[in-house]
Amino acid sequence: MVDYSSSELMVVVAARELKDYESVLVGVGIPNLAANLAKKLQAPHLNMVYESGAVGSNPTRMPLSIGDPCLVTGAKSICSMYEQFAYYLQGGRIDVGFLGGAQIDKYGNINSTVIGGYKAPKVRLPGSGGACDIASNVKKIIVITPHEKRRFVEKVDFLTSPGFIEGKDKWRLLKLQGGGPYAVITNLGTLKFDDATGEMTVVSLHPGVTMEKVQENTPWKLKVADKLEQTQAPSEREIMALRALDPDRT
C-alpha cells in the first residue's frame, strides 16, 4: 500500500470519474490534476477544454491560472471568450465540468458570490465567473471540496450556480440543458444525487472514514445510499502517475 495525502486521494477519485473520449471543462488546481491524471491512465483521448478558450492543451508545467501561456503553446485550438461559452458550453459539447465554491447545499446548489447578504456581505467572494454557465450547460457537474460544516449548508446564502434548486421537480421546470450536479468528492467520501429527488446522498466512504465522521461534518441529516461503498484506496500506479504530473505537489 502506497502512502498518499488527502488531496491526492481527492484527485485520484475525481480522475476515476472521467471516461475516454469525454470532453472536460478544466479549472486550475485539483481539477486540472484530475483531468491530466485520467488522460495518463484510462482516458488517453480525454478532450480538455479551458474557460480561457484553449482546447486540447498540452501543458508542460502546472498552470497557475486557466489563462496561463503554457496552456496555449501546442494547444489544438483556441477561440475567443464568447465563442468558448457559446460554441462549447451553450453548444452542449461539454460532458464534465468541475466546480468549487464556498458553500454547497443539499441539492447541489453552489455559492461562490457572497457570505451574508448580497448588498452588505460578511465576505464578498469573487462571484460566478463561468460557474453558473457551467452548472447550467454541462452534462455532469463534479464538485471537489473539503468536507467542512461551514461549506456544507442546508441552504446556500446566495445561489450562484444551480444544482437541483429545491429538488428535481422544481429543477425540471427550469429546462436547463445541463444534467445538474453528479458527484461531490470530499476528503471524507463521495456523494452523489438521488435520481428521484436530487438530494445529496453518501455513496462511498474513503478508506478509514466512518459514516459518523461524515455526518459530524455536515449540518443536515445526510441521506445514505442503500449500498454504501468503500472507496478503493489509490493504487501505486495512480499515485506515481499523479506525482509525475505534479512533482512540486502543489
Binding site: L64, P69, T73, F85, G127, L176
Partner: protein
C-alpha cells in the same frame, strides 16, 4: 477615422479617457494592458466605471488609487490565488471610497460585449435561470422564445466609452495581429466608442497583409496606436514574455492593508514617469525568467493566380 494615430501613452490617455467614462481594459488573463491602467492612475482619472469580466490586479490597483466609482464584472478574484483585496476593501469598507457593483456570469459579461460589438438589441443566453444573480441585477431580463414559448434569459449590449486593447503587433493604423488567448480583445475593440491599441511591436502594413486571417482588429475601429513594449507585466504576451505568476502571488501580500498597497503604488506607479521606467526598475533576473522559448507557427500560402 483619420490618419496619424501613432502616439504616446500619455497623449492617448489624456485625449481619450475622461472622468466618468465607462472603461474596458481588455484581456482574459492574457495581454492585460497594465501600462494603460498605470497611466490612467497617474493622470488621476475619477469616477470611472470599470468594466471587465475579470477585474484582476489592474482594476484592484485602479480601485486603490481612487479612480473607480463602479465595477461591472463577472469574476472579481486573483485567479489561482484568492481575493482582490482592494476591490473588497472598497466594496465592504468604503476604502478609499465606496464602489457600486454590477454583476454577471462570464457568459453574460462576454455576451454583453459580443452584443455591443455586433450591435444586437439584446442577447439570449442559456444561463442565469435558477441563479440568484438576475434578482440582483435588473439588466438581466427574460423574453419569451417565439418558437417554443420558453422564458429565455437575455442580457443587454455593453458599449464602453473607451477601451484599451493590447496586441502583439500592429501597423501604424492599428491593423492588429493577435494570437494565443484572444479573450474579449476583438469584441472590446468593436464594442467601444474609442479604442486605444497598445502593441509590443509596430510593423509594416505588408507584414499584417501577409496573414489577413490573423488580423483580429482592423484599423478602422482604432483611434490611437501606442508602441509600448512590456505593457502587460505582470500579465503576459504570448511569445514575448510570460506571466509573472510570482507577482500575482505577491500581490496578495502587498494588498493586506490599504497603506501597504499605496506604498507599492507610490514606488511602481506614481514613482515612475512611464512604462519604460517601470521596466527598467525590474531586475535582470526577473526579465530573463519571463522570456519564453521559441515555438514558431508553420506558415501558410495565401497566393492566388
Amino acid at each position: 477615422m483619420e490618419a496619424g494615430k501613432l502616439t504616446t501613452m500619455k497623449e492617448a490617455v489624456s485625449r481619450f479617457v475622461k472622468d466618468g467614462d465607462t472603461v474596458y481594459l481588455a484581456g482574459f488573463t492574457h495581454m492585460i494592458p497594465f501600462a494603460a491602467g498605470h497611466e490612467i492612475m497617474r493622470q488621476k482619472r475619477k469616477d470611472l466605471t470599470l468594466a471587465r469580466a475579470t477585474p484582476d490586479i489592474v482594476y484592484d490597483q485602479m480601485i486603490a488609487a481612487g479612480c473607480c466609482k463602479k465595477v461591472v464584472f463577472s469574476y472579481a478574484g486573483n485567479p489561482g490565488v484568492g481575493s482582490l483585496r482592494c476591490f473588497r476593501r472598497a466594496f465592504e469598507k468604503g476604502l478609499p471610497n465606496r464602489i457600486e457593483i454590477e454583476e454577471y456570469s462570464h457568459f453574460g459579461m462576454s455576451g454583453r460585449l459580443f452584443a455591443g460589438a455586433t450591435n444586437m438589441p439584446f442577447l439570449p443566453i442559456r444561463t442565469n435561470t435558477g441563479s440568484d444573480l438576475p434578482p440582483q441585477n435588473p439588466n438581466i431580463r427574460t423574453v419569451k422564445d417565439p418558437y417554443t414559448g420558453d422564458e429565455i434569459s437575455v442580457v443587454p449590449p455593453l458599449k464602453p466609452d473607451v477601451a484599451v486593447v493590447h496586441v502583439q503587433r500592429c501597423d501604424a493604423n492599428g491593423n492588429s495581429h493577435v494570437w494565443g488567448i484572444i479573450g474579449e480583445q476583438k469584441d472590446t475593440a468593436f464594442a467601444s466608442k474609442k479604442v486605444i491599441v497598445t502593441a509590443e511591436e509596430i510593423v509594416d502594413e505588408s507584414l499584417i497583409r501577409s496573414d489577413p486571417n490573423r488580423t483580429l482588429i482592423p484599423d478602422f475601429v482604432v483611434h490611437a496606436v501606442v508602441h509600448e513594449p512590456w505593457a502587460c507585466h505582470p500579465s503576459y504576451v504570448q511569445g514575448y514574455y510570460d506571466r509573472d505568476n510570482d507577482f500575482y502571488m505577491e500581490w496578495d501580500e502587498i494588498t493586506k492593508e490599504h497603506e501597504s498597497t499605496m506604498r507599492w503604488m507610490d514606488e511602481w506607479v506614481f514613482g515612475v514617469e512611464d512604462r519604460q521606467q517601470y521596466v527598467k526598475k525590474m531586475t535582470t533576473e526577473k526579465i530573463l525568467k519571463l522570456l519564453p522559448k521559441a515555438a514558431y507557427s508553420s506558415p501558410v500560402n495565401y497566393g492566388s493566380v
